[in-house]
Amino acid sequence: MTNKTAYQRVVGARSKDKISTAELIHGLTTDFFECHGDRLEADDHALIGGIGLLNDQPITVVGIQKGNDTDENIDRHFGSPTPQGYRKALRLMKQAEKFGRPILALINTPGAWPDVDSEYHGQGSAVAQCIIQGMQLKVPYISIIVGEGGSGGALALACGDRVFMFEDSIYSILSPEGYASIMWKDSAKVQQAAEELGLTPESLLKDGIINKIIHEYKPGEELSNLRDFLAAEFAELGKLPVDQLIEQRQRRFRNF
């Protein structure tokens, strides 16, 4: 793995050339069947969810997807889910539990969508329910931070049995820009902020916040290694009795 500065990781995590959540889903699974809507009021396009086969084993995938161009970014509000997005994710995760399917959560978001409508529809409540209910799921649950992992909006889907990060990804309590603007009232000090936030996969692995760093895959690259790795992880988690699985997941977080 190349040694990069924290700021280079920030740039890498946000790069346009990065493999997208949708590409990962289609590279990892076959027969992917997308499911839409939160069954309450809307379908949030920042959140993709559905069922697919991972090495012939059905899994549920929920992922946060950024847009490729301006129009798509507006449609997906830059990969920042609304409460409806989080409720859709939770609905699909509960459905996975019903059918005994493992869950793969793919995260690439600057954070939950900060707008007035999301506040009215209970952004805080939606994230809170993803966290509390997600951690009680009786099926194996793996979270991967693919690009940006911004704050509570990322944590909502990052409560898995295993939390992995791509090489060029970041996970932080707030954006380096936000940190710089609060700490020094100067959003230009992004590089220093990135260092202080300790948001790189290397530093989070050291802190025990994540379990492993995953090799960075380019768009179009063969994903069979990652597919086999995830299948093996799911198989291992699947061997545990349910109460042990949940206890282990919760103990991981109890130690923080």
Partner: protein
């Protein structure tokens, strides 16, 4: 007609006199902007005009709300691994002002005949932010309550996760949520009282996980802050869009309770959750 010996002072003179009044004598309500003599806020520290509850230190809140409070985990505080001098200075100041070692005060108390577990966040302790020791205290509170089969009443007041502690602070949201879930699965009651302000990571976790969610009048309750919304997506939120009244209208709060009624209301809720009701007699 009686001639008043009172002569109206000039405008300049009035301004001069106003400036001479020490700050703590007058108070201004941040909600309705009514200005009044501080003493009129009374024991409950509320605006005499609109009923807004001023921010309270945790110790004062406990005193006006509960009986026989026994504190737990009093010495739990910010871990020494956080060495940044600026952060350390903030911690020292917060401890001095509030008399607490962390941003939450936890313990057991009585309300009427009912024993309960109590958590009160202190908005004067680095904005009531959720640090790792805050999370540890709240988690232990729920664990204790689950063991002793006690209901939990939690007063939230927080700016959200504590920036200075990075992702460890964010992880507290998950850690506390698990303790809440275990308490809930044991069939026990959890009541939240949203106080001014409840925002960010606290709203996105245990503040929104109660069986019953109350709020104080005009408390600010939200996830993303006004400035974040304005600066990130250039949208100008309406005034009061995150007031408890608006949040209640959207379905996230059971009742808004004035501070003077809080004690009786909580006692009533606890009473309604005891199994010994009329049918057992």
């Amino acid at each position: 007609m009686l001639q008043s010996r009172f002569k109206m002072p000039s405008h300049d003179e009035l301004v001069k006199r106003m400036d001479a009044i020490p700050d703590h004598v007058l108070k201004e309500c941040p909600h309705c902007h009514y200005k009044f003599l501080s003493v009129r806020a009374g024991r409950n520290n509320i605006c005499p005009k609109c009923g807004y509850g001023f921010r309270l230190m945790a110790k004062r809140r406990v005193k006006i709300t509960f009986d026989k409070f026994t504190e737990m985990d009093q010495t739990v505080t910010v871990p020494e691994r956080y060495t940044d001098p600026k952060y350390r200075a903030k911690i020292a100041k917060a401890k001095k002002i509030t008399g607490l070692n962390e941003s939450v005060l936890t313990g057991t108390a009585m309300l009427g005949k009912q024993q309960l577990a109590v958590g009160v966040m202190d908005p004067f302790w680095i904005m009531g932010s959720l640090g790792s020791a805050t999370g540890e205290k709240i988690t232990r509170l729920f664990e204790m309550a689950t063991r002793k089969r006690l209901p939990v009443v939690m007063f939230t007041a927080s700016g959200g996760a504590r920036m200075q502690e990075g992702l460890n602070s964010l992880m507290q949201m998950a850690k506390i949520s698990n303790a809440v879930a275990a308490h809930s699965q044991a069939g026990l009651l959890y009541v939240v009282v949203l106080c001014d302000p409840t925002t960010g990571g606290v709203t996105a976790s245990f503040a929104m996980q109660g069986d019953i969610i109350l709020a104080e009048p005009y408390a600010l309750v939200g996830f993303a802050g006004r400035r974040v919304i304005e600066q990130t997506i250039m949208q100008k939120p309406p005034k009061d869009f995150q007031s408890a009244e608006v949040v209640m209208q959207h379905g996230f709060i059971d009742q808004i309770v004035a501070r003077a009624e809080m004690k009786q209301t909580l006692a009533k809720i606890l009473r309604l959750h005891t199994k010994e009701n009329a049918y057992d007699k």
